[in-house]
Amino acid sequence: MSAEPWSKRVLRRFLKRLLQPVLSRAYARIDIRLEGLARQLNETVGELSALRRDIDQTVTTVLNALSNQNASARLQTRALEAEHARLAEEIVRQIELVRKEIMLDARYGRAVDVREDVETNVLDR
C-alpha cells in the first residue's frame, strides 16, 4: 500500500480546519434536536402509560358495573315474574268468584254477594 501524497494530506487538514466550526454547530443542533425528541418520546410514553392505566381501570370498573347491573336486573326480573304470577293467580281467583256469583244469580234469580261464603267454602259443602 502506497503512502498518501503530501499534497492530499495538506488538503485534508485544510478542509478539516475549514469545516470544523460548521460541523460543530451542526452536531450541536442535532444533539439539541435529539434531546428534544427523547424528551417528547418520554412524555408520549408517559401519557400512553397513564392512558393504559386509565383504560385498564375503566375496563375493570365497567365489567364490575356490568356484573352488578346483571345481578340487579336478574333479581328485578325474578321479583317481577313472582309478582306477575301472583297477579295471575289473583285474577283467576276473582274470575272464579264472579263465575260463582253468576251461577247463584241464575239459580236464585237474584244478585248475591258470595265472596265471603265462597271464601269459607260454604257453597262447596
Binding site: 383504560i55 385498564d56 381501570q57 375496563v59 375493570t60 365489567l63 364490575n64 356490568l66 356484573s67 352488578n68 346483571n70 345481578a71 336478574r74 333479581l75 326480573t77 325474578r78
Partner: protein, 416 residues
C-alpha cells in the same frame, strides 16, 4: 401440507390455583383429564388464567386484572371457557366480553355465607360473590359440585336444563385396605378434624364437645385437628390454645399445621372418625376422603353434608353442641365399651347409619356403592361429556378425532 391446528382451545379460570385448595383441585383434575386426552392423541391447547398460583407449568398465566386478560391472545382465541366459581374474583367478570359464540361453563363451588365469616376481607369477598354469582347467567353449562349447589343456582334463576351435578373426586388416593374393623388401632379412639380452623366450620363447637367429655374424665379418645393456620380465624385459634392448655400434659389434642399430602393420607388412615360440625359446606371433600379410607363420619346437617355423607355416618343438628357431644360419646362407647377394651371387639362393632346399625364389612359395602358417584372415574366421565357438549357448541365444533377419543375413553370408564 398445512397444520390443521388444535382440536380445541380451552381457557380455564380460577381466582387462585394453589395446592391444598378444593377449588384449585377441581381445576387441577380438569387439567389432568385434558392432558390425558392429549396423551391419547387429542390436540388441545390449554391455558389456565389465574390471579395467583403456586403451580409451575407453561400453560399457567398469572393475570392480575381482567384488563391484562383482555391483552392475551389465548383469551380471544379460546373456543371454550371454563370458570371455577366460589369466591368472587375479577377474572370472572370477563364473561361479559367473551364472544357470544364461545360457550362458557361455570363450575359452581358455593360460597360461605358472609354472616359466618369473621375476617373482614374474606367477608367482603363472600358478599361480592353473592352478586357475582349472577354472572352464571352467561354460562351455557353449569357443573355444580353438589346437589346443594344446584339448588343454589336454581334459586337465583338459572334454568334447570343448563345445570348438572359433577361431584369432585377425592384429592388424595385413599383405601380402607389396612383396616380390619372400626377402631382397630390400639389405644384411644382417634377423632380427626380436617379443614380451615374457622367459626363457619364449627371448630369451636367441636372443642366444647370434646372438652366436656374429657372434663368428665372420659380418656378413651384423642382429637387431631389438621389445617392451615394461614386460613384460620384468630378467635378459633385462641379457643384451641385454651383447650390445649386446659388438657396440657394429657396428650388429648394434636394439631397438624399445613399438613402435606402424605400427612393427610396418614391422618385419614389412622383416624377412626372424622368430625365435621360445620355451619356451612358447599361440598366437603374430607368426607369423601374419610369414607374412602374406611373412616366413619360425624357431621352436622348443614349445607351439603347430609348429601355427601349419604346416610353412612351420624348427622347432628347444626350448632347443637350437646347432640354433637352425645354422638361422639356414643361412637367412642361403641368402639371402646370400657377403657381397657382391646382389638378383639372391633369386628363386632356396629355403627349407626340410615340403613340401620351396620358392622364394618356391611358398612364398607354400602360406602363403596355411595362413593361410585364421587370417584375419579365418575368425575372424568362427567367432565368429558360436558367437554364434548361445549366443543360441539363452539365455532371449532367437536372434531372427529376428539369426539372419537371421548367416546373411547367414556366406554373404558363405563366398563371399569
Amino acid at each position: 401440507m398445512t397444520d390443521p391446528g388444535p382440536d380445541l382451545r380451552i381457557a380455564l379460570y380460577s381466582g387462585i390455583f394453589v395446592h391444598h385448595d378444593a377449588v384449585s383441585n377441581s381445576l387441577q383434575s380438569k387439567v389432568e383429564i385434558l392432558e390425558s386426552l392429549g396423551a391419547r392423541g387429542a390436540r388441545i391447547d390449554l391455558t389456565v388464567f389465574t390471579h395467583a398460583s403456586d403451580y409451575r407449568a407453561p400453560y399457567i398465566r398469572g393475570v392480575p386484572t381482567v384488563a391484562d386478560l383482555l391483552r392475551q391472545e389465548a383469551f380471544w382465541s379460546a373456543d371454550v371457557h371454563i370458570f371455577e366459581f366460589g369466591m368472587s374474583y375479577e377474572l370472572f367478570d370477563s364473561v361479559f366480553v367473551i364472544p357470544p359464540d364461545r360457550p362458557i361453563m361455570v363450575v359452581e363451588h358455593n360460597t360461605t355465607p358472609p354472616e359466618l365469616v369473621d375476617d373482614p376481607a374474606v367477608k367482603l369477598g363472600c358478599e361480592a360473590a353473592l352478586v357475582q354469582r349472577h354472572n352464571i347467567s352467561r354460562a351455557y353449562r353449569v357443573a355444580c359440585a353438589s346437589e346443594l349447589n344446584l339448588d343454589l343456582d336454581l334459586s337465583i334463576g338459572v334454568e334447570e336444563d343448563r345445570l348438572c351435578v359433577l361431584h369432585l373426586p377425592p384429592a388424595h388416593r385413599l383405601t380402607p385396605v389396612a383396616r380390619k374393623g372400626f377402631g382397630d388401632n390400639n389405644g384411644p379412639v382417634h377423632l380427626l378434624y380436617l379443614g380451615r380452623l374457622v367459626r363457619a366450620k364449627g371448630v369451636g363447637d367441636l372443642l366444647k364437645a370434646v372438652s366436656s367429655l374429657w372434663g368428665c374424665g372420659d380418656d378413651r379418645f384423642v382429637l387431631t385437628l389438621a389445617g392451615n393456620p394461614r386460613f384460620s380465624d384468630e378467635m378459633v385459634l385462641r379457643e384451641l390454645h385454651r383447650c390445649m392448655e386446659r388438657f396440657a400434659g394429657l396428650e388429648k389434642v394434636q394439631v397438624v399445621s399445613s399438613p402435606s399430602d402424605e400427612d393427610i393420607v396418614d391422618l385419614f388412615h389412622s383416624a377412626d372418625v372424622l368430625v365435621i360440625p360445620s355451619y356451612h359446606e358447599g361440598y366437603c371433600v374430607p368426607v369423601i376422603e374419610a369414607l374412602s379410607a374406611g373412616c366413619y363420619v360425624i357431621g352436622s346437617d348443614a349445607g351439603n353434608l347430609p348429601n355427601v355423607m349419604g346416610g353412612l355416618g351420624r348427622v347432628v343438628p347444626t350448632g347443637d353442641v350437646p347432640a354433637l357431644t352425645a354422638a361422639i360419646a356414643d361412637f367412642v362407647s361403641r368402639l371402646r365399651p370400657s377403657s381397657d377394651a382391646t382389638l378383639d371387639t372391633t369386628s363386632t362393632v356396629r355403627v349407626p347409619t340410615d340403613y340401620g346399625e351396620l358392622d364394618y364389612a356391611a358398612w364398607l359395602a354400602v360406602v363403596a356403592e355411595h362413593l361410585e358417584d364421587y370417584s375419579d372415574d365418575a368425575y372424568e366421565r362427567g367432565f368429558i361429556r360436558l367437554l364434548a357438549e361445549l366443543a360441539a357448541a363452539s365455532p371449532a365444533g367437536l372434531s372427529q378425532r376428539l369426539g372419537d377419543l371421548i367416546s373411547e375413553r367414556t366406554a373404558e370408564l363405563t366398563r371399569a
